[in-house]
Symmetry: none
Subunit: 201 residues, 4 copies
């Protein structure tokens, strides 16, 4: 009785275990044996599915990229008004929930690993390309509706996205001055006070 999908399942299982280990231990300290243990498989099996450690890590990031992309699908399907939607996005990216936190860890490791790895740079480029287009689209909707200030929507999107990333790093590093709560108010202040068309000053 062949189970045709067993291979694919195993791959997923291993790739997900890889994220978790990256998120918990960091890239630098990742050992294949840890991944094997976390995935509940033998170390030999890792190499059955992935030729080298490098291949595994690359695949894990690729898979995580897809995962991250899917995780923000909901944004496309919301009928909320633009400013509200931006706030929801910010809210969903605050490094509070376990899963979001893990996402930030994995993505941070990808960034730094990407400094040396063109493949990962491409992943990042694709991801942020979509990200910018998504946020810029929302901003453009707001501009069309007359609730968001004029100016390059892409540039405004870049501001918000970069701000989220920069603040998240500080939160991840356990800064006492930049907590997740503080990150929320800072982002919300930007959306409430700087993006709107005629916000009071």
């Amino acid at each position: 009785m062949p189970r045709p999908h067993v291979e694919e399942e195993r791959r997923q299982q291993i790739l997900e275990a890889t994220w978790h280990v990256i998120a918990v231990s960091g890239f630098r300290n990742l050992r294949l044996s840890d991944v094997a243990k976390r995935a509940g498989v033998s170390s030999g099996m890792i190499h059955y599915y992935f030729d080298t450690k490098r291949d595994l890590l690359k695949a894990a990031f690729e898979r995580y990229y897809e995962h991250s992309t899917q995780r923000r699908q909901w944004v496309m399907e919301t009928g909320k008004d633009p400013l509200e939607l931006l706030k929801l996005i910010v809210e969903s990216y605050l490094p509070i929930e376990e899963e979001t936190l893990e996402g930030w860890h994995v993505w941070s490791e990808l960034w730094v690993e990407g400094l040396q790895e063109p493949d990962l740079q491409q992943l990042n480029e694709d991801f942020y390309g979509q990200w910018r287009r998504l946020v810029a689209g929302i901003i453009r909707d707001g501009q069309d509706a007359g609730v968001i200030r004029d100016g390059s929507a892409i540039e405004l999107a870049n501001m918000l996205i970069a701000m989220i990333d920069g603040l998240a790093i500080q939160v991840l590093l356990g800064s006492r001055s930049m907590t997740a709560e503080r990150m929320r108010t800072t982002c919300m202040a930007f959306i409430d006070e700087m993006l709107p068309k005629s916000a009071a000053r």
Copy 2:
């Protein structure tokens, strides 16, 4: 016959070599033999000055923290008007010049390593504490002079700083959509259009 300062010089020499190797190869791939080669000393000498690799790396980051702090001393001594000064700061942090680029690389590695290392988190905390106070001070000067909008100066500083960090990451990753030039215009747009008190919309 004591050879004065030899020890201190050697330490500096090794620490600086360590930055360079971190900046070029990344933290994960750093081999002590590379540091030794770069510093032009024997591998044994590394251990003569630093007990373990870990100690060396920690010391290198600490030293880099001091270095980074000193590198922004000039900001304190400028008589420029606030908005102009903020622009100069942005300009000086664009990842263009070799030295600035290296700084971003080292600091990125510190961030990601800091995810696992409380000591590095503290370094980051100190550094960003100063950073926020510095930028917030300038903003407050601008508010006092009536050229910068009202609101929490610290919060505005956090926005700008986070934006710089977030954009720099993308530039460092070689994004074709986010170049150093693009980063400049984005930051300048924020300073010119969002910070001033009564900027036209």
Copy 3:
């Protein structure tokens, strides 16, 4: 498909190789690569079974302790009369046969290493505890049979055991004045002339 007992066999193989190297080269000069070579395995395998060199050496001594204990089992099963039995024991401990010689070498190294290592001290304590009880039992049998002088059997056992150890050291050191032959006559003289109840003087 599990390969049963492979692990346990390997451990034994490595531990025995370790004795031999200790016996031949001494503790101080023991290199893991020598043990690996002697055991006919790779150096990595040593660490597969033993975390550190220290662990290996400790385990080797522990295993040797068991081995030594077993090697004297025969004494319990002999029906010989007490004085005869004591002589057989002495005979079996003369540093003449290859295996006995090796035993003395390993045990000497254990002694000196034990000066710094409480774990090894405990091993020695256990071993000599059994040893004393065994010899004292034989002596007590002799006293009960009226062929061995009165007095504390444990004390008499301690005399004989210490004498064997002290003489063996000199033999091991290749003394020309204290050969194995000389050691034999000295011990036999003690048993023949000093232990018996009414030996002529």
Copy 4:
């Protein structure tokens, strides 16, 4: 103003420091830097006086051999009666006093090192040769005076000396069953009950 003996003094200083380190840390763990620290000199100076570590250790043992020989000079100059003198000797070798304890440690290390080193074997041979002659001489005095049993004086000396060595090892290893006190009574029992000509049985 040349101090002609400064070199000789330094040598002594270093050699004595070497004993102490051997006694405290054991031979296996001895580092020249520890010796230098203990002697209060630079590591370079060790090599000024001794070409190699091996040379130093050999010289240290040689010097210790002389030292040990001198330490028992008093035996020659005592007018005590033979049995009493043997007891004094035993007393003086009990591993109780700091200095005696150190002596046993150094000598134990010499034994085990001697298993590999013919030079040290020779030292031991010389030392034990004198030792046997000395003790045998006393025993012979006792035999001449009619207070010690007949038989080979050398053999009786070997018994006593070996017994002392064998017991001392157990005491040094911190045996709870063989304390210095126990060692004393055991040796004294041998002298009191086994050596005399017509001891009651």
